[in-house]
């Protein structure tokens, strides 16, 4: 019973409470770059989630074999393999998405969410917990991307789900190409970089309000366990806490 409860928590924490983009401020670069249209962000979110789940599971399964001194290169090799697989799949089945995401698809290799979860979670926890953590974090990433992209696309381009048929084509639906002309004069700044930062900041503020309004503790990136100084730290797990606790906002 207790086991199930904690597994459920590993899954649900990634959605709002420890949302990788909005609360841990990881993966900012692909977020700003791909949240221009909802279709792109759904594609990016699914691709990153697949890589995240697979790499979390494999790294968790290999965690007792990988020597800790070379764990980062080992993680990168695992992650890069899955990114290559996902990129080949996208190129073959959704070429339009491959063109739209451009360099950001191969750049999932160095996405800090995926490396961060491998380092902070998968390298220390069991396979089922790592699977659920990857799934939850992936859904949280996709959710944040889609929320941002909805605001930016509707206000900045005046459309919603534009070009969605490149994704739904896989399921045989081709006729629906999204809503157009929602705004006759779109506010162009929202699809530019400054608009991206603006929407990102406002949604981050909102997510902090939602997560803290319920009296939940502030997001931490794994506490002492994830700290690089953990081995030589005298204050480890002491009640006073350490002076440089990795709190939200400082994690990158």
């Amino acid at each position: 019973m207790a086991e199930n409860k904690s597994l459920a928590r590993e899954f649900s924490k990634g959605i709002i409470k420890e949302n990788p983009v909005l609360r841990l401020v990881l993966g900012t670069c692909p977020t700003l770059a791909t949240s221009v249209s909802v279709t792109n962000s759904i594609g990016m979110g699914i691709a990153a989630t697949l890589v995240l789940i697979c790499s979390n599971v494999v790294i968790s399964a290999l965690r007792k074999i990988i020597p800790s001194k070379i764990r980062i290169p080992a993680y990168i090799v695992v992650i890069a393999s899955f990114v290559t697989i996902v990129q080949m799949l996208v190129k073959a089945f959704v070429p339009a998405l491959n063109d739209a995401l451009g360099v950001y698809l191969p750049l999932i290799v160095v996405n800090c969410i995926i490396l961060g979860r491998a380092e902070a979670f998968a390298g220390k926890n069991s396979v089922p917990a790592s699977f659920l953590d990857g799934l939850g974090m992936g859904i949280g990433f996709t959710f944040a991307l889609v929320v941002m992209a909805t605001v930016r696309e509707v206000l900045g381009s005046g459309s919603f789900l534009d070009g969605i048929n490149s994704l739904t084509r896989l399921f045989g639906v081709e006729s629906f190409t999204g809503f157009h002309n929602i705004l006759s004069d779109p506010i162009g700044i929202f699809i530019m970089a400054p608009g991206g930062f603006l929407v990102f900041g406002l949604i981050m503020a909102l997510a902090n309000k939602v997560a803290e309004g319920k009296g939940k503790p502030k997001a931490e990136l794994g506490g002492c366990a994830a700290c690089p100084m953990a081995k030589s730290c005298a204050l480890i797990d002491s009640k006073d806490g350490c002076p440089s606790t990795v709190k939200e906002g400082s994690a990158e």
């Binding site: 004069d185 779109p186 506010i187 162009g188 700044i189 929202f190 530019m192 603006l198």
Partner: protein, 327 residues
């Protein structure tokens, strides 16, 4: 001989200035009235409509942000939102749809001003940030309305659009007198140089602003344009009177919050604004660079302040460390 007042002992300060934020802002509003009148004469009653809507929107957003979101004391009474609203309306062409101006007002007040802590805390001038927001978003910001299309021109839709004097062909250029009086295409408040200068002189006479920033700004542009125009004074005069240079130099670059405090800093600020305006006008892809150059110098203001902080009297000079000396 000795009355009660002289025997009272009180802690300093002993003399108080009657100047308040409200009185300063009121002076700025008075200084903008000539430009408002000129814009109504040149562009019709729609100019007044845009200004009134913009002021109302700014005051509303300020009130709503303070009351419902930040839950702090209401700062509508200091009139700073009114100034922002008027300035922002002066920065749009008269054909601009009203909702676009309200979006610009919302950005200026909610994001740039209140999200950073309200009056005195904004890192760039809200009116300029609002103008740039609209400039990047709406193509209508670059469609100038033809002047003197009739005072009852309330819709702005039928108004003709013409090129700004900065990019117009030589034969389409308005005469020098027309440019000084503002009978040309442009934003509401920027065309009538005479009215802007009158407002600027009022502000200087009332000691609301010191003339350092406007003078160093305009002089820098004049000198650079004289060199670029190979000594052609008519070219220089056109450059000085076209675009938002005078409006920006007098009303926007002199914003207390976002410009340096002391003399040296103000001159550096003015020269920087002039330099970037000229660089954008001469080499950039945009016809106009006043708002971008002022916002850039706004961001640089903390650095200018740090470099020009005066040394208190009597404190020793910082000695440079001699070479090879080990501390």
């Amino acid at each position: 001989m000795i009355d009660g007042k002289m025997l009272k002992v009180s802690a300093s300060p002993h003399t108080r200035s009657k100047t308040t934020t409200k009185s300063i802002m009121l002076d700025v509003i008075i200084a903008m009235i000539p430009s408002l009148v000129a814009s109504v004469v040149i562009f019709g009653l729609r100019a007044l409509l845009l200004t009134v809507v913009s002021v109302a929107a700014c005051v509303f957003f300020e009130w709503a942000m303070r009351k419902f979101v930040l839950k702090k004391n209401c700062t509508v009474g200091d009139l700073s939102a009114v100034v922002t609203g008027m300035l922002l309306a002066f920065n749009v062409p008269s054909g601009l749809p009203i909702w676009m101006l309200v979006v610009g007002d919302a950005f200026a007040i909610i994001i740039v001003k209140q999200c950073f802590g309200g009056i005195g805390q904004n890192f760039v001038n809200p009116a300029i940030a609002g103008r740039i927001f609209m400039l990047l978003s709406f193509g209508q910001m670059m469609k100038w309305t033809q002047p003197l299309a009739g005072i009852m021109n309330l819709t702005g839709v039928e108004a003709l659009t013409g090129a700004t004097p900065l990019v117009a062909a030589p034969e389409e250029l308005p005469s020098m007198l027309d440019m000084f009086l503002g009978v040309r295409g442009g934003c509401l408040g920027e065309t009538c140089i005479a009215a802007i200068l009158a407002g600027g002189l009022y502000l200087i006479a009332r000691k609301v602003i010191r003339p350092l920033i406007p003078v160093s700004y305009i002089l820098t542009v004049a000198v650079i344009m004289l060199i670029a125009g190979k000594g052609d004074f008519e070219y220089v005069a056109r450059q000085l009177m076209s675009g938002g240079l005078c409006l920006g130099a007098i009303f926007m670059a002199t914003d207390y919050t976002t410009s340096p405090i002391n003399t040296k800093g103000k001159i550096i600020f003015g020269i920087g604004c002039g330099l970037f305006t000229c660089l954008i006008r001469l080499f950039g892809s945009l016809p106009e660079g006043v708002s971008y150059s002022i916002i850039l110098m706004n961001v640089l203001t903390p650095l200018i302040e740090r470099a020009t902080t005066p040394k208190p009297f009597g404190t020793p000079k910082k000695e440079k460390k001699a070479k090879g000396e080990t501390a």
